[in-house]
């Protein structure tokens, strides 16, 4: 199905055009063109912006700001974003990674959106033409969002502080059974002083494992220390069922893979 595409030099103008009913924003095309090809009749028009700021990556002073049009391949190859490379490479095959954008990944429904899981663990801030929002609030309200995402920003983590795991049946590329990202800080005695754990496929979008985070505080990252966190990991989850895995299976294997990630 052919759709009229309108291109704007500025995000502001594109945002105005996006307010028309049935209009969707075109980033890399891996979500919206796919939907159109699939026969999604709710899509009647597309807009995009060629603003160069959307494709910029800024890494300075321990902070990173990634434009919404930056692709997964660009992130995976950026020397300043090495800790995130694994999460970026978890998205699709090489062609998809050349097209899929950071902004689009925030809207990808489970079982997709592996990079958004990483951003959620990193406590990223999502910038839109209307302002900035914590990623958790943005994700909760994304279905009603009509403001074009312009960038995401977050504090860079040391490689040992950020952990990411994608579980799939097909290697090296496969759809997620689940994905997990964690940002962990430890006190001088080795106990966990701060934990943010994000899960993919355990709801219709990325979510925090807050119960597991809470019980992990003050514990050591060994088999005994993480036991309570693994037991609590499934609290509040509502895993998806798809051809890759059932909700039951995902719930069963979550503690296994979370344990591997925490002990890695």
């Amino acid at each position: 199905m052919a759709l009229a595409l309108r291109t704007f030099a500025t995000v502001k103008d594109a945002n105005t055009a996006l307010r028309s009913t049935g209009t969707r924003y075109l980033g890399g095309g891996t979500l919206v063109v796919r939907a159109a090809n699939e026969g999604d009749v709710s899509v009647s028009g597309l807009v995009r912006s060629t603003d160069p700021a959307l494709s910029a990556i800024e890494v300075a002073g321990g902070k990173a700001r990634i434009g919404a049009s930056v692709t997964m391949a660009a992130i995976a190859g950026h020397p300043g974003l090495g800790a995130l490379a694994k999460a970026a490479r978890a998205v699709g095959g090489p062609a998809i990674r050349n097209m899929a954008t950071v902004g689009g990944n925030l809207f990808a429904p489970a079982p997709y959106g592996d990079f958004a899981v990483a951003l959620l663990a990193l406590d990223a801030t999502v910038s839109t033409d209307d302002g900035e929002l914590p990623i958790e609030i943005f994700l909760a309200n994304r279905n009603d969002s009509r403001a074009i995402v312009t960038s995401v920003s977050f504090t860079l983590q040391k490689a040992e502080g950020f952990r990411f795991l994608k579980v799939s049946r097909v290697k090296p590329k496969g759809v997620s059974v689940l994905s997990i990202a964690a940002v962990l800080e430890r006190a001088g005695d080795g106990t966990v002083s701060s934990a943010r754990i994000a899960l993919g496929c355990m709801a219709d979008r990325s979510m925090r494992a807050k119960a597991a985070e809470k019980v992990l505080l003050g514990r050591t990252l060994d088999r005994h220390g993480i036991a309570a966190a693994l037991a609590a990991a499934g609290q509040g989850t509502s895993p998806i069922t798809d051809p890759i895995a059932s909700a039951w299976y995902r719930a069963e294997v979550l503690p296994v893979h979370l344990g591997r990630l925490l002990l890695s």
């Binding site: 052919a2 009229a4 595409l5 796919r34 090296p172």
Partner: protein, 160 residues
């Protein structure tokens, strides 16, 4: 539906067409220009049969809108042979029986070409990674992997 002009270089030749706004590059190539080497498989970005090279990057033409390719340099499998001589990858696919029904072959060759353009002597794991976005339902993949490794060896021998 509004018609929009699109100009790009396809396999070294200038192309200019009017397409319906929102037309995918896959449909523009096959239906307007007559290059049927990219195949329309899943139209969902899953099978890789429609893979093309746009400005040196591997892309899926089923998910790319033609009008976003204005001014781009596009390469498809039909354009990689030179002077009537098959590209080493094409030759290797024949020599190792890496083609059965042939539907996935153009996408496989394009994905492999991007790999060899950047990594002339890839490891087996790098070949598997490079082809991970392309689905084949006939060969079991092993002959395809062997074909890419054979083409890489042929390249390195030619360069020596």
């Amino acid at each position: 539906m509004a018609k929009v002009p699109v100009q790009f270089t396809l396999n070294g030749s200038e192309k200019a067409e009017f397409v319906d706004s929102g037309t995918t590059l896959l449909n523009a190539l096959r239906d307007k220009i007559g290059d049927t080497s990219p195949k329309g498989g899943c139209h969902q970005g899953t099978c890789g049969a429609c893979s093309v090279i746009i400005n040196g990057e591997l892309r899926l033409s089923c998910l790319t809108l033609a009008e976003t390719c204005n001014g781009a340099a596009i390469t498809t499998t039909s354009g990689i042979a030179e002077g009537g001589v098959l590209h080493p990858l094409q030759r290797a696919f024949l020599d190792t029986f890496a083609t059965q029904c042939g539907f996935c072959t153009p996408g496989m060759i394009i994905a492999a070409k991007v790999l060899l353009d950047h990594t002339p002597n890839p490891s087996r794991d790098e070949v598997i990674e490079a082809l991970s976005g392309n689905i084949c339902r006939c060969t079991g993949y092993e002959p395809i992997i062997q074909a890419v490794l054979l083409a890489a060896r042929a390249n390195s021998q030619n360069a020596a």
